[in-house]
């Protein structure tokens, strides 16, 4: 079981959070495209505002269509609750700002998405929240980075774009001993491949724009409360254990226990930050989630085939994927990703930066863009785009070389992907030859 449901993941993905509504019997989840909800009475309105009963007040805080998606994601991840947000980045910011205040500290993996690194390094710093970046699987480095004011340890279950799998059991055990929760961005994994809560993580964050939606048609984020962190015993989170004045002194931990964080995010952060997911986007992402597991299996099959093919090409300098022994975290990946380490891979084209650029420019089928997890194959050169704001040292720490091509392997027929990539490699080889003859 997922701890949230006794149904299997495929069934949860199709049904959880919704049964046909009573008015019309709509089989599909309806889009409740509304800002607000009529109160039955003054008494009921008062009850809703005072958290005396569940229900919807205003779509910035909760919405019936979005709630179906939230409950479905919580069930898929095995969490006690989930909150959806406008984007993956707003999910991260909401999580960080709910758990941290000025003067607090975060320990983060150095191998993370460029925008997340910028958020931690610059935006949160401006708000008085410091971050120490570490090689997250280095137990000693992680322990040394923890400070008395550390509020969370952050990592990605598969690092972007270095594809290092985080040793979640080791990280969670160490952080929890110090009374610190572990927040994991599991965007590259999805619950179909790895559920971080099963390995001790306490909060899971997703950009549901990616594989969860799968179609590349809607942006969204999600925060899942694992319900497995003792906020009181930690002693570091008075905002969850002490009276919260804006809600008549409510104590989230005492009143809600395993879903205290989710309730805090709903009551405070969604109200104050306003980064809500639109009902229409929730509907679109629900359409994708219905086929999540099937799609992920095909993503894995295509990835495996493409890796084998790339390894056989003379123009490819190296290939990196968690399933390969050369990947530094391969042994961890085998434990955490029993079906396969996702559908992101990286490789280097001979000819370095220029070779990589020639490869990308020659592609006809794969799309060159700043997204991953689409049903279509996507390619990117992180050094000149998503991670361009990082210094050379920070790029190296994040596991990015200048020749690195990031591939999000799609669901096209593998022969077509290989033919497209063959054309790209041919262009890179031609460039290399031209450079050689020019010298």
């Amino acid at each position: 079981m997922s701890r949230s449901s006794f149904y299997h993941p495929d069934t949860i993905a199709l049904h959880s959070g919704y049964t046909p509504e009573s008015d019309h019997g709509s089989r599909a989840v309806p889009i409740y495209q509304t800002t607000s909800y009529v109160f039955e009475s003054v008494d009921q309105a008062s009850s809703l505002f005072n958290v005396e009963q569940g229900g919807h007040i205003y779509s910035r805080i909760s919405n019936p269509t979005v709630a179906v998606l939230e409950q479905r994601i919580a069930a898929l991840e095995g969490g006690t609750g989930a909150i959806c947000t406008a984007s993956g980045m707003s999910a991260l910011f909401t999580t960080f700002i709910t758990l941290c205040s000025s003067g607090d500290h975060i320990v983060s993996s150095a191998q993370i998405y460029g925008s997340t690194a910028t958020l931690l390094r610059h935006t949160l710093k401006r708000l008085g929240i410091d971050t120490t970046f570490v090689a997250i699987n280095d137990k000693q480095a992680l322990e040394q980075a923890i400070q008395p004011n550390t509020k969370l340890v952050f990592c990605e279950s598969i690092g972007n774009p270095g594809l290092e799998v985080a040793n979640l059991p080791q990280i969670s055990e160490l952080a929890n001993i110090h009374g610190i929760p572990v927040v994991v961005d599991a965007t590259f994994a999805t619950p179909a491949l790895c559920r971080p809560i099963d390995f001790g993580a306490n909060v899971v964050v997703h950009s549901i724009t990616k594989w969860m939606g799968g179609h590349g048609a809607a942006i969204g984020g999600a925060i899942v409360d694992g319900g497995n962190f003792d906020w009181e015993m930690s002693g570091r989170f008075p905002e969850l254990t002490e009276p919260y004045e804006p809600f008549h002194g409510i104590k989230f931990w005492e009143e809600f226990g395993p879903n205290a964080l989710a309730m805090k995010i709903r009551s405070e952060s969604m109200r104050d930050l306003g980064a809500c997911l639109s009902p229409n986007n929730a509907f679109l992402i629900l359409q994708g989630i219905e086929t999540l597991n099937m799609r992920m299996q095909q993503h894995l099959a295509n990835t495996k085939a493409l890796i084998e093919w790339l390894k056989g090409q003379d123009e490819v300098a190296w290939v990196n994927h968690p399933d390969l022994e050369e990947n530094a975290s391969h042994e961890i990946a085998k434990k955490l990703f029993s079906q396969g380490g996702g559908s992101m891979l990286c490789f280097g084209v001979v000819g370095g930066r220029a070779g990589g650029a020639a490869f990308i420019d020659a592609l006809q089928l794969a799309s060159h863009l700043a997204n991953v997890g689409d049903s279509r194959t996507l390619v990117l050169h992180p050094g000149s785009t998503t991670h361009s704001r990082l210094t050379t040292e920070a790029m190296q720490a994040a596991g990015i070389s200048e020749d690195l091509i990031r591939v999000s392997v799609g669901l096209e027929n593998i022969k077509d992907i290989q033919n497209d990539f063959a054309a790209g490699l041919k262009a890179a080889k031609r460039l290399l030859k031209q450079q050689g003859s020019a010298q």
Partner: protein, 263 residues
């Protein structure tokens, strides 16, 4: 708030308002393996609408200290001490499942304390399959999973939640698997005093029952309602975990009943 009862620090939810013993008090008693949070969506309404609320986590459960009580008779006696510690003479008692048995035993041992009695998803006796108790003794997590599978109705299994975004089964799983479930279940299995206690009840009563309840089947709860001539509410689409899976409907029935008793 925290109350010292017989040397143990007991956590008591008060519905988000400071406890005031001068107000009419509603005592909420949780079921096996659960805690005060089972009543999170009922207690706040009473606390903010002219009542005082006491929703303890029984000894040895969640945020309460002490050891789990080993019989329903012992929990009845403990409730007398608990109410004395809170400075309360009379209460409306609301009990879910095992909590109702404890309420019955309180009534048997000190009838004068009751203003009214409400049973939620319960019966006068709760026989427990020995295999479940044995499982709970070996693994509270496995036993919790079995209870949650049987305990929730079809809507909760389909991930439907009264609170947007939340998953009641996962919440129940976390609470139950860290509480002394085996002892609680044994208490229920051993308790034979329900019928005798029922005969001693002479205050207004109500029963709120689930149509899909597999743990205390509807017909057993209806028998109690018949015996007590209780106000009966049947929530057809819900299972045994009524305060969690049907909080709004349970609150509505409770409000109607307790307010009418007060009037």
């Amino acid at each position: 708030m925290k109350l010292n009862v017989n040397g143990a620090e007991i956590h008591v939810a008060t519905g988000g308002k400071e406890f005031d013993s001068s107000l009419s008090t509603v005592l909420f008693l949780h079921g096996s393996g659960l805690d005060h949070r089972a009543w999170a969506l009922q207690t706040r309404w009473f606390a903010y609408n002219g009542y005082s609320v006491l929703a303890p986590a029984f000894p040895g459960h969640s945020l309460s200290g002490g050891n789990a009580l080993s019989s329903i008779e012992e929990s009845g006696a403990w409730l007398i001490d608990f109410l004395a510690a809170a400075g309360v003479d009379t209460v409306h008692v609301v009990g879910h499942s095992q909590g109702f048995l404890s309420g019955l035993e309180l009534a048997a041992q000190k009838p004068a304390v009751l203003k009214s009695l409400t049973g939620v998803g319960t019966a006068a006796a709760i026989p427990v399959n020995p295999m479940l108790i044995e499982t709970a003794q070996k693994s509270a997590i496995k036993a919790a999973e079995m209870m949650l599978q049987w305990g929730f109705g079809s809507n909760a299994h389909m991930g439907i939640s009264a609170t947007p975004g939340m998953q009641p089964i996962a919440i129940g799983h976390k609470i139950m698997s860290s509480n002394p479930l085996a002892i609680d279940l044994q208490c229920c299995a051993d308790y034979l005093g329900g019928e005798t206690a029922l005969a001693m009840i002479n205050v207004p009563t109500a029963m709120i029952l689930g149509g899909q309840d597999k743990m205390t089947p509807l017909k057993t709860g209806k028998l109690v309602a018949q015996t007590l001539k209780a106000k009966l509410t049947v929530l057809e689409d819900y299972g045994h975990m009524l305060p969690i899976e049907a909080p709004k409907q349970v609150l509505s029935a409770l409000r109607e009943f307790i307010v009418s008793v007060e009037q």
